[in-house]
């Protein structure tokens, strides 16, 4: 009941979907339509997982008075005010909900990740070393791509963008394809393991 039935549901649905891909019969189509209809309903409840875990983490921090617990109030306030504004005034363009998005989310989110530019510059200076022939090849390829993607590369020589395009289209393509084949086979194997009930971590721990 606790584990076996969910695994059985995955197995039955999994094999029905494998069959659905190959059998274009009306029964197969009806099964697919039924599944989609039900998924849409179930899907709307999944948000509880994200909101719930965030609230749990931060309310625990406040309860335990963990280091920097005061900031957890900011998280909760941010969550409550944003969602309330959506419910009170709607979520269309021009509402307070969108105002919060433009004034809080966009600047904070975009700036947080833009800090990476500084770290990569520092890493370029302090960490990217040509310690071996392979590392040298990597760095040379990177430098050519960096030059070939901007107009200065074109200004130095029209060949630089051409070589960059060749690197991307030939050796890079070969490397990424080989990796892609491995990933594709790995994904398929994982899917099979899920259907067959060998891979069960997605169900969570416990009995």
């Amino acid at each position: 009941m606790k584990r076996q039935i969910p695994l059985l549901i995955v197995m039955i649905l999994g094999f029905l979907f494998v069959a659905h891909t190959f059998i274009p019969h009306t029964i197969s189509q009806d099964f697919f339509d039924w599944f989609i209809k039900w998924s849409k309903v179930i899907g709307s409840f999944a948000i509880v997982l994200g909101v719930g875990s965030l609230l749990m983490v931060h309310s625990n921090k406040i309860k335990r008075k963990a280091p920097n617990w005061g900031y957890s109030w900011i998280v909760i306030l941010g969550l409550v005010i944003t969602s309330l504004s959506g419910f009170i005034w709607g979520i269309e363009e021009g509402t307070p909900f969108m105002w919060i998005f433009k004034s809080v989310n966009v600047p904070a989110g975009a700036t947080m990740f833009s800090l990476l530019a500084f770290y990569i510059a520092s890493a370029a200076y302090k960490a990217f070393r040509a310690r071996s022939i392979e590392a040298t090849v990597l760095l040379i390829a990177a430098i050519i791509v960096m030059l070939g993607r901007v107009s200065i590369g074109n200004a130095i020589s029209p060949w630089i963008p051409e070589i960059t395009q060749w690197i991307l289209n030939v050796p890079n393509l070969a490397a990424k394809r080989a990796i892609q084949l491995g990933v594709g086979l790995g994904m398929t194997a994982t899917s099979l393991k899920i259907i067959l009930g060998i891979e069960r971590t997605y169900l969570g721990g416990g009995k």
Partner: protein, 199 residues
């Protein structure tokens, strides 16, 4: 008026985030936590208006499709995720959603593996096609660990390493580009939307 306040708030948060470059400080922490809370806050009304109302509320209450009460009950199972005793109930909605991976087996084999392999099997009519072929095969053999990488075989797999290094180099070059672009975007905001220097 609201637009001006919004711009100043955005500037304050942008500068607070940048202040982390000097060292961690309360301004950064404030901006970071506000961002996390507001981000999650978005999901709730969107899910209510764009998912719950059209796919659950309207069919059941307006179109009287009462059979949908069964998936509602299954969906409510998610709520038990945080209960220590009853968290097993949440496995039912998860299992229902997982079933569709069955379709992923034939479809991902097709799109990620077979189509890629088919292109590799084209007649090798140009030097580039030959290079792509050698590169991909040598990398695949490099990751084949059931045979020792010695002799001619070892030399061939070494070619694979070179191809990979060029591939990683291309990704690395592009990564530098991406990070710089993110910074440019923020500087453009400060210089244009706030200071009005660039138009």
């Amino acid at each position: 008026m609201m637009e001006t306040i919004g711009t100043w708030l955005a500037v304050f948060l942008t500068l607070s985030m940048f202040s982390f470059l000097y060292k961690d400080n309360p301004f950064y922490k404030f901006a970071e936590h506000l961002f996390v809370g507001a981000s999650m806050g978005y999901a709730i009304p969107y899910t209510y208006y764009n998912v719950f109302i059209p796919y659950t509320y309207n069919p059941i209450f307006l179109r009287h499709d009462y059979i949908l009460i069964i998936p509602v009950i299954i969906g409510i199972g998610y709520w038990f995720r945080f209960s220590q005793k009853l968290s097993w109930i949440s496995r039912y909605p998860i299992a229902f959603g997982m079933g569709i991976v069955g379709m992923g087996v034939p479809m991902s084999i097709h799109a990620q593996v077979l189509v890629q392999m088919r292109t590799m099997m084209l007649p090798l009519t140009s030097i580039n096609l030959i290079l792509i072929f050698i590169g991909s095969v040598s990398i695949l053999l490099y990751f084949f660990f059931s045979k020792a990488h010695t002799g001619l075989y070892g030399k061939f797999t070494k070619i694979g390493i070179w191809f990979m290094m060029i591939g990683f180099g291309a990704s690395f070059g592009y990564t530098v580009m991406a990070r710089i672009s993110l910074l440019i975007g923020r500087i453009q905001f400060l210089l244009s939307d706030w200071l009005g220097i660039i138009k």
